[in-house]
Symmetry: none
Subunit: 222 residues, 4 copies
DNA sequence: CATGAATGAGGCTTCATTCAT
DNA sequence: AATGAATGAAGCCTCATTCAT
């Protein structure tokens, strides 16, 4: 799995700050916005507060983002992209067919591990994504697009592949996803958002998750 | 499982309207608030809009609820209670020990089925609960209390019981819950909030969910 | 000096309650209004709060007083009357000419003493009068009328009388009043409103006040 | 006595407008607020009315003053300070000991004259101060502080000084102040607030006031 | 007489956004 | 690019007053 999507939170911003045409102030604005919005939510965060935390005049924000919602979009859109990065076309499918995963369980472990690291490095961003998704139709649309065009097809491929290899029980892929996704997401949400202060033995818990899924989905016990 | 907690949405309000001392206008206000807030979220819903939809003067809202947030609380608090109703003390535990469930699978099926019916009858309320939980510390506190005092102990009992009977694999109960809860919730959320328009074969999907969990948790295949 | 104007606060109300056609509820309302308004001022006191403290429905207030301002007027008007009671026509002037005061100093002492007792018995009412006078033109008008028709003429008489007797320096009566009034009022205000918790030797302080005025006004030292 | 505290009303604002960082709009707001509040009182004055009179959007008020009460405070606080300016430390006491006042009477005349000019130049401000003092605990606190720390000690010094010189009768200073203050204040209030339209011979009336006080306090006639 | 739910005008305040500098 | 004063729409809430019961 790619490593360049780790730690977007700062990294993403910095990268943009250099590669694209971001001024230092713009970077400050993004950082401040991410911090505050992830703490208090979009509607409880005022642009003036963001400006203050960023050490910038209020007007400056609107020089870079036409509206407050634009600012939110500019935070969330990359997260949607990066979060689904592994599913993007070749890389992901390639890994499945050519890479060292000798079976589905191996693949699943690697996949969860990878998304785990991503979430860990980007807690505030993931938090914003999950919280705001419900309230902003534009963002939902953006997500649905990525899901339909990238995520779903990729997963589909993988599942079909392992089904053929006889490692996955015969069920509609959608049903499988419906079971798989909440299990993985549920783990990440519990781990990083609901109970971040518990003492987690992360690796054991990841294995447990894999195990749980494998039992439920796999053909092993049958 | 009790049937008196079905369909709170209207039923709850009506009941209150009669049993408690709710005026017809107050009922209208609650209904309107639930509708609009579940559509657009708390922060996108203005009290004036609620008043308009309820056919009431804006001031009337504040005769009955000191604050807009009070109004939200008066919607959510009963949901928290009712949603966890099956866990409340005797009933739930009794069912497990004395009632017709011959094994954990049976119990699980009955339980999911029951919560499924509840969710089905109260989509708007559940939606509000899930969406707003993130933003209102008071509501979080209220939920945590119910979870710690009612839900968790009840589940604990059940799991211990079936562990003793050898139907559940030996894992920490917290880990089991961490796997179980997202699976059930994920199903309900997908079914009623994310993809309500799909043509669902509900019973088959419930069985699939039970099956998935049983495989992952149970001792069967070992 | 008349004794029937002592302790209006309760007494006034009770009297009205019997003699006039006041219901017990109306009495409660007046009492509550006086208490709260004297504590927090007219504009910081809501009719609902008055109703609550009076143990009465809000509507009941408006059954007895057309408006909130009417309620205030019904409190203040009698105070204006009673506060200037000693000046009312015959009684007052009579006392001056026929009664036991052998000189102006004696009269002054009796007068201040009398108004002192009145103020003492009616602190809340006096407080309301002083505080609200500034903001309600109707009340000002009412006061000016009483002053012009009763108070001023009466004082005028008295001053002229003692001037003739050679006990008061020859100055315009208005100037005398301008010096006299603040001295007396200033004492009462300090005593009951500004520093009510100090340990006052009331009689000594009254004598000091009389002395101060006598020196300033009288012919003694000349 | 210093002359730089004359005519705060406009002068104060103008000064601030230049020396401090006040925008022209902010100056307009202050002027409008002073005018209207002094006419109708704080609670009868709406922020929208102030905005209208100031030719400013209502929101602009709240950019400069977080609260309506803040606006009031920003008007009154300087008045409290300026009104007691002559009492502030050296200047005042110095004048007493080193300056041209050959006796207490001279000093008293100069003092009253000075405060008279101040009141004359700041009628609206003084009116607001007197009217609102009763209703705003924060303002009371602010005043009490100034009184305890500046005014009282200064007066104390002066009285002791002239007592030693044998020009003032031996009474507790607090008693003297209790007699002195209402006489001076009563004069100013009558002159500028109660009867501003009378034709006053100001100098004669000031002398009368001084005379009245001297007789009452002084040792002359004894 | 009494009630108290209902009203709706109006108050204070917030905040995204604009614009002259 | 950056500023920050200014805007004004819109939000929440209060409260005196009315009216059907």
């Amino acid at each position: 799995m790619s490593e360049q999507d780790q730690s977007i939170y700062k990294q993403m911003i910095d990268t943009l700050g250099e590669s694209e045409n971001m001024t230092p102030k713009q970077v400050k604005i993004l950082e401040a916005a991410i911090e505050i919005i992830s703490e208090k939510g979009y509607y409880n965060t005022s642009t003036s507060e963001i400006a203050k935390r960023a050490g910038v005049a209020e007007g400056t924000i609107f020089r870079h983002y036409r509206t407050k919602k634009d600012l939110l979009a500019s935070i969330i859109t990359p997260v949607i992209t990066k979060f689904s990065a592994p599913f993007f076309a070749e890389k992901f499918v390639d890994q499945v067919f050519r890479k060292p995963h000798k079976n589905f369980e191996d693949f699943l472990y690697a996949f969860i591990k990878n998304r785990f690291e991503f979430a860990k490095a980007n807690v505030p961003l993931v938090k914003i994504l999950l919280q705001e998704l419900a309230f902003h139709p534009e963002i939902q649309a953006s997500y649905k697009k990525v899901f339909a065009e990238k995520i779903y097809p990729a997963i589909n491929n993988v599942l079909d592949y392992y089904k053929e290899k006889g490692e996955i029980k015969d069920q509609p892929n959608l049903s499988i996803i419906r079971l798989l996704a909440p299990t993985v997401l549920g783990f990440l949400i519990t781990r990083f958002l609901l109970q971040p202060d518990l003492e987690w033995d992360d690796d054991r818990e990841i294995r447990r998750t894999v195990d749980f899924i494998m039992k439920g989905i796999g053909k092993v016990g049958e």
